[in-house]
């Protein structure tokens, strides 16, 4: 009798949990119920997500989560962060431990299709490059026989092998797990070339080199690394909110709406695009199931994409916009129209 009761209760609990998950909008409802977005971030990558001296998470990836929280909950601080390693990140998303993963993650076919994930946009276009001492004086096609310092177990290592094979060149990898040791090995001359994503190379050159001018980043970029926030499949409403929050940040930069002038723009702008974005002419918020001030909240509290980039990537890593400039400035950041 008792055992039957327990079993029945157990079955009901499982059924209830299953039902909750099958329901559309489960993640979104969950976020609204708990009052914050659980955001998976990198355990420490300056400019993208790193803790500052006060232990607060900062970076361009962190700003995506803050923007989404501002759009959905009206407060950019309604975010809780879960630092994740590369190996953990997808499990955390699949198991529902986090609502969104914003952790410099490259969008690829397998991840999008096979792992049950949805990339909601690209907030940083990166690519793998080479750092060499200027004294070496070669281009990327003349690296035959070079010793290359590389970190193991990443796409970086695979891209490196692919590139050299495609060019019919040989190389000798010096595989070093720890980034500090890897860069120390490079600057002490143990290898001719250091390779990682271009954003990483720039910061290593400016921060770790005795004299940065002695080193050059080769113009050849050997891989495409579109990095962006990811959510689990199954709650389209949630992935829409995440996608359009990111788009609103980019769109705002295009219209010249900044953290500073957003109130003025909201009151005075006659541009119909700006009026739609800021909810002066309503409809966009309703379409997404959000407050009409959703985009206004993002820009007011987090800033537009350019401001976030400036504050994090340029200030911390000294990187120019490059590929991440707006399409109007010759870059790749092209926001779908908010209308």
């Amino acid at each position: 009798m008792k055992i039957q009761t327990i079993l029945a209760a157990g079955a009901m609990t499982v059924a209830a949990i299953a039902a909750q998950n099958a329901q559309a909008g489960a993640v979104l409802d969950g976020i609204k119920a708990k009052g914050f977005v659980q955001c998976g971030v990198n355990t420490g990558l300056p400019g993208f997500s790193a803790a500052n001296a006060e232990g607060k998470w900062e970076g361009i990836d962190v700003d995506v989560c803050r923007g989404i929280a501002a759009a959905l909950l009206g407060d950019a601080n309604s975010v809780q962060y879960t630092p994740l390693t590369a190996a953990q990140r997808f499990t955390a998303l699949q198991s529902g431990e986090i609502d969104i993963l914003s952790r410099n993650t490259t969008a690829t076919t397998t991840r999008d299709a096979k792992l049950g994930l949805t990339f909601v946009g690209i907030n940083y276009y990166d690519g793998q490059g080479f750092l060499i001492p200027k004294a070496l004086g070669v281009s990327a096609t003349e690296l035959d026989g070079a010793t290359v310092c590389v970190e193991p177990g990443t796409t970086t290592e695979l891209n490196l092998a692919d590139y050299f094979r495609a060019k019919g060149m040989s190389f000798e990898p010096v595989v070093i797990e720890n980034i500090n040791e890897a860069t120390a090995a490079f600057f002490s001359g143990r290898c001719d070339v250091y390779t990682t994503d271009a954003s990483g190379l720039a910061s290593i050159r400016t921060q770790m080199a005795e004299n940065p001018d002695d080193y050059a980043i080769l113009p050849e970029i050997i891989s495409k690394e579109p990095l962006g926030p990811v959510v689990a499949q199954g709650d389209e409403q949630w992935s829409d909110v995440a996608r359009w929050a990111l788009i609103a940040m980019i769109e705002a930069e295009e219209y010249g709406v900044t953290m500073e002038n957003v109130d003025d723009m909201k009151a005075n702008s006659t541009n119909p695009g700006v009026q739609r974005l800021l909810g002066v002419s309503p409809g966009m918020g309703e379409a997404l199931g959000l407050d009409e001030a959703w985009a206004y909240n993002i820009i007011k509290q987090v800033g537009n994409y350019g401001e976030s980039y400036e504050k994090n990537v340029t200030a911390k890593l000294g990187l120019e916009r490059g590929l991440n400039a707006l399409w109007t400035d010759g870059g790749l950041q092209y926001a779908w129209p908010v209308r």
């Binding site: 420490g44 300056p46 790193a50 803790a51």
Partner: protein
């Protein structure tokens, strides 16, 4: 043999004379020892001055990047500027008095338990102290009641996390390991096989694998929407792992107790548990104090591995601070030296305590 024969001769002569005699006897005793002595002195002269020059004379404590760039020696300013990040990780800045208080409380309980073992009137308070102390620590860390804001444990970090992971690990792994050791010695085949399989499987894999399973694989086996806390999973992983090693240590102790002691217990008509508690375990555990403390020390250091599952223990927060600003990244030698010093301090205290405990418990054997 008479004890007196071993005593050294009483010192005679002036201090200088005695020093010369002592040196001749201990440092320049034959050509081989003379070479060793001179070689060691030369090595130390070569090694120590540059370290002092780097670490103290030319070092700076100025907590700014500019100040560090000017110094030719160590940049302790890195530690100075990021001390709170290193100590408490990403715990909310304004609430960091809570982990500080929790850490002091935990240290207090640990010290009182260790020092109080000797005194019967303190000893009876040890268990109540833990029973009351641990919930207070949990309330301080988590909050959510008594007007304290709730802090998810993905924000815990630094020294408090290291101490919590290792002390809770030790407190739970000890009895579990003991049960496993007894299970392995048991006459019941099922229990024995179970214990052997458990111990061998866990000992056969590295801790990293256990943590990885707990953090990456385990959540996939749970039904959708059910998550078990990341920190709890890591803590359980550490307990399970340490228990297997402790079990083997305890088995060594159990086997070293003479057969006659077991039989003595039986002939007094003591039950299994009575003879274990009163006769066997006190002897067995005392015998294995050094390897047990050895296990504790290695487990304390192993907690640094939680960094691979995204938890920031004390070493992890040093790394976090190194990455807080790219300009700090190159001062990793200073950061790791600081971490090493703190780890050494704690491990050395553990070793010293075990030596003290051995001496205390061996009093019964001395005449």
């Amino acid at each position: 043999m008479s004890e007196n024969a071993k005593l050294p001769p009483l010192p005679v002569g002036t201090f200088v004379e005695r020093s010369v005699t002592w040196s001749k006897k201990n440092l320049f005793d034959g050509w081989f020892n003379t070479i060793l002595t001179l070689g060691s002195v030369a090595f130390l002269l070569w090694l120590i001055p540059p370290i002092i020059e780097w670490g103290i004379i030319n070092a700076t404590l100025t907590p700014t990047i500019e100040g560090c760039a000017e110094a030719t020696g160590a940049c302790w300013g890195f530690v100075n500027a990021n001390l709170r990040l290193i100590l408490f990780g990403t715990y909310p800045y304004d609430e960091q008095w809570r982990p500080l208080l929790a850490m002091i409380l935990l240290m207090g309980i640990i010290c009182a338990s260790l020092g109080g073992v000797k005194y019967p009137n303190v000893r009876k308070w040890i268990i109540p102290m833990w029973v009351i102390g641990v919930p207070i620590i949990a309330i301080l860390m988590w909050g959510g009641v008594l007007g304290l804001t709730y802090v998810q444990n993905s924000y815990w970090g630094g020294l408090p996390l290291t101490l919590i992971l290792s002390s809770i690990g030790i407190v739970f792994a000890f009895p579990f390991g003991l049960l496993l050791a007894l299970g392995r010695q048991s006459n019941m085949p099922a229990l024995r096989t179970l214990s052997v399989v458990y111990i061998e499987v866990i000992r056969g894999v590295p801790l990293i694998t256990v943590l990885f399973m707990a953090s990456v694989m385990f959540p996939l086996f749970l039904p959708d929407g059910v998550t078990i806390d990341k920190l709890l999973r890591a803590q359980i992983g550490i307990i399970l792992f340490t228990a297997a090693y402790l079990a083997e240590v305890f088995r060594g102790g159990l086997q070293a107790v003479p057969r006659g002691q077991f039989e003595a217990g039986e002939s007094l008509a003591l039950s299994y548990w009575q003879s274990m508690r009163l006769i066997i375990l006190p002897q067995a555990l005392r015998l294995v104090i050094p390897p047990t403390v050895n296990s504790f020390i290695s487990m304390f250091k192993d907690t640094t591995l939680v960094v691979i599952i995204g938890l920031f223990d004390f070493l992890g927060t040093v790394k976090l601070a190194l990455r807080s600003d790219p300009a700090w990244t190159k001062y990793y030698v200073e950061g790791y030296t600081f971490a090493a010093a703190i780890f050494f301090l704690i491990c050395f205290s553990m070793a010293k305590y075990s030596a003290y405990l051995e001496k205390e418990l061996r009093k019964g054997e001395r005449r």
